[in-house]
């Protein structure tokens, strides 16, 4: 089973596949395709990845709201046959569901809503099934990202937990010195940023001291490679989308 995890899919190839899928979806309006992509992402995440179900749901909730919002917007304000406020007030005694079903805008509303879901699905799929370090080393190997940026990004990512703590410290420092700090005060933010510059200098120095240099050759412990399966998976998914766009009825 372990061989069938999407985590093993080369992150750079995965990234390009996701990007291309987004572009393909942008130029079509077929509900079956967009919903299909969304469902495909869900199935991949639930059955073929180690992504936690809880985190999937957590991100899906706001996405669903956004999709619903788009749906409602499409329902009332689409280009053809838009329902004016007059119409709405005229038939307000009719239940909402019935009104919606009666509306000729139902399809365009579903198109808009499902597109949001598809984009969200692709985004979640990529972010939850990609290990950040594997992704960055893949960017170094497949996309020629310079090690300076790559390790800089990693160091920064690993410092993020400290930022919140630092902000709290700064607020506390101001308060104990008798200076008022409001919720939106920028003073502690500034202090925190000055501190983080100091951190970055320190860490850069520590990295150099340990022999890190940008232009010298180095070996790699993790060396992501692009295999036949990586490409095949990508081609399969993209052709499926193209095929669906051409043949789906709605």
């Amino acid at each position: 089973m372990n061989n069938l995890r999407v985590e093993r899919w080369n992150p750079s190839v995965k990234m390009f596949t996701v990007l291309l899928s987004v572009i393909l979806l942008s130029f079509q309006y077929k509900i079956m395709v967009t919903l299909g992509v969304f469902l495909f992402c869900l199935i991949m995440m639930i059955f073929f990845s180690d992504a936690r179900f809880k985190s999937i749901i957590k991100i899906l909730i706001p996405a669903t709201f956004a999709a619903l919002g788009m749906f409602v917007m499409g329902l009332y304000y689409s280009k053809n046959n838009s329902i004016t406020s007059m119409d709405v007030s005229d038939i307000s005694s009719v239940p909402y569901a019935l009104r919606a079903a009666m509306s000729t805008n139902l399809i365009s509303a579903a198109q808009l809503g499902s597109r949001i879901l598809a984009y969200a699905g692709l985004g979640i799929f990529f972010s939850l099934t990609t290990d950040e370090e594997f992704f960055i080393s893949s960017l170094m190997h497949q996309c020629h990202l310079s090690p300076k940026f790559a390790y800089g990004i990693l160091a920064a990512v690993h410092l993020v937990p400290n930022l919140g703590k630092e902000y709290k410290n700064a607020v506390f420092a101001f308060r104990t010195r008798g200076i008022r700090v409001g919720v939106f005060s920028l003073k502690p933010v500034f202090a925190m940023l000055v501190n983080s510059i100091y951190w970055s200098e320190n860490i850069a120095m520590a990295m150099q001291s340990k022999g890190f240099s940008d232009n010298e050759s180095r070996t790699y412990y993790i060396e992501p490679k692009v295999g036949v399966y990586d490409i095949l998976l990508s081609i399969a998914i993209l052709s499926l989308i193209v095929f669906a766009i051409n043949s789906a009825p709605i």
Partner: protein, 522 residues
């Protein structure tokens, strides 16, 4: 290995930082396979010298004004970072800012990648070093969960895995308790004895090193070499030089003033603690569930009892106008206690300020009465200029003061602390010792009645320590200030504090009577 007399040779080096001369024609030689200490008063350029010797300064677009640095007979300028790392690497003061990966294993891999070790050899080399330094248990733990001592050990592992022939340490024991520091020292000693490693350390105090060092280099101002090659045998004959320079000297009764000289002005209690229970972190329900889950899986076990940092049943009172020292291992909860005293950390039990439960005092009012100096001074600054930093505090407390008077007052204070020359500089560009002094000063300039100081004298030379402590003392006598400070330095506590508590097994024990200072005094 080729026998090489000198590990590092610094020849006639002059270095300026923003027009200020830090090192003025400095030359020195570090012998191979020895432990050398670089000592000197605060601001003597020790830290800068160590950075230059390890090739980290000058930065890429800068250059030395004069001079050359050689490591193992190679000009350091001609070495790329990865080649240089095999000769000399550096360990830094702040254990939090040394790693770019999130676990030690990954960090060690990063080091090996830098020096182009083939992938297949990496794992075995990492395992071997981890076993050698017995850090196997740390390898896969997230680095931010390690204690300060463990982090420094991890940093040492990284340098060891590179097989660096010389290690330069810049105040490695900052914020470490004595047990962790001694562990690190014995590790360094083994590295010298078993592998012939050269170790150079910048430190303010000899205490930890006194049984293992081979030679001391004493720096004066602008890195002038005052004495080179002081050995353990000749150390005692140099005591006057150390004392003249204001550098700590072992067993020298440096503190003229003594706690017995001052009497407690009155015996009114100002801060009292009773039935106090302080827990590690503020554990939300979610964290608790996670912890229990982790315990079940047997990783990183923390029991209910381990979550409690302080469990103080008996009552402790801090008297008005007195100085109290708190001793204890680092991470044992001294800093957290301070946070609780300022309502920044939850606790059970009662903390009273001046007879009122602090839960009933508004935070603003409380911080008008209780001030704090943080362990890490960089968290403390609120302005961008040294003079401003002091002025802000004075102004807050003397609203009517006119600006000339304010300037004069602030400058006088800076003068006392040896910071007047830096008045236009940003606090963030000061040296570590200077930063800490400024942090103490800026709080002392305020009018709070109780000061909590977290390691106020770490990284200070003797002269600055004396200035800080005697300023506190005189403010105690004039304004009835109450001081509570934490320290790892028992001698300091014994010489200055009116009472000393040690945090041992989660509660404070009054050790004033049995403390070393008293014995030597009598």
């Amino acid at each position: 290995m080729k026998v090489c007399e000198a590990a590092i040779t610094v020849e006639d080096v002059t270095f300026r930082y923003q027009k200020r001369v830090i090192l003025d024609h400095v030359s020195l030689t570090i012998p191979e396979g020895k432990i050398s200490l670089i000592m000197g008063a605060s601001g003597s350029g020790k830290s800068t010298l160590s950075h230059i010797a390890s090739g980290l300064l000058p930065e890429e677009d800068e250059s030395l004004e004069s001079g050359e640095v050689y490591v193992f007979n190679q000009n350091i300028r001609n070495l790329t970072n990865n080649r240089r790392a095999e000769y000399v690497t550096m360990m830094f003061q702040n254990p939090d800012l040394q790693f770019c990966m999130d676990t030690l294993r990954k960090e060690m891999r990063f080091c090996l990648e830098n020096i182009s070790v083939p992938k297949d050899e990496m794992d075995s080399r990492i395992e071997r070093i981890a076993e050698e330094l017995s850090v196997e248990s740390l390898l896969d733990r997230k680095l931010f969960t390690l204690s300060g001592g463990e982090k420094q050990k991890a940093a040492l592992c990284c340098l060891r895995v590179i097989k660096s022939r010389c290690i330069i340490l810049d105040e490695p024991f900052a914020n470490l308790d004595s047990i962790s520091a001694m562990n690190l020292i014995s590790l360094l000693k083994d590295l010298r004895d078993d592998f012939g490693m050269t170790i150079v350390a910048v430190d303010h105090q000899i205490d930890y090193w006194k049984d293992v060092f081979d030679s001391i280099i004493l720096l004066g101002s602008n890195g002038k070499i005052l004495s080179d090659g002081i050995t353990r045998d000749t150390l005692s004959s140099h005591s006057s030089l150390f004392i003249k320079e204001g550098v700590f000297f072992p067993d020298y009764e440096s503190f003229k003033q003594n706690r017995f000289a001052s009497s407690i002005s009155n015996d009114k209690e100002i801060v009292t603690l009773e039935n106090l229970v302080i827990r590690r972190g503020e554990e939300s329900k979610k964290d608790r569930r996670r912890r229990l889950k982790r315990n079940k899986r047997g990783i990183f076990k923390l029991d209910e009892a381990d979550m409690i940092l302080i469990n103080q049943k008996s009552k402790i009172s801090f008297m008005k106008g007195s100085m109290t020292a708190l001793l204890g291992r680092s991470g044992c909860g001294k800093t957290t206690l301070f946070l609780s005293l300022l309502k920044q950390h939850s606790y059970d039990g009662t903390i009273e300020y001046d007879g009122t439960d602090i839960k009933k005092i508004k935070l603003k009012e409380l911080s008008n009465n209780v001030g704090i100096v943080f362990q890490n001074p960089i968290n403390q600054f609120i302005t961008q200029n040294v003079l401003e930093e002091v002025k802000v505090s004075i102004k807050l407390w003397n609203k009517t003061i006119d600006s000339d008077e304010l300037d004069e007052m602030a400058l006088d204070m800076l003068e006392d602390y040896g910071l007047r020359d830096y008045k236009r500089q940003s606090p963030y560009l000061l040296s570590q010792g200077q930063m800490r002094r400024l942090a103490v000063l800026s709080v002392l300039a305020g009018g709070q009645k109780v000061l909590l100081l977290d390691e106020p004298t770490y990284g200070q030379d003797r002269k600055s320590t004396e200035t800080i402590m005697s300023n506190l003392k005189s403010k105690m006598e004039s304004d009835g200030l109450t001081v509570i400070f934490t320290t790892h330095d028992r001698k300091l506590a014994a010489s200055w504090a009116d009472s000393i508590y040690e945090l041992n097994d989660k509660s404070f024990i009054n050790v004033t009577e049995e403390s070393e200072g008293r014995e030597s005094f009598e």
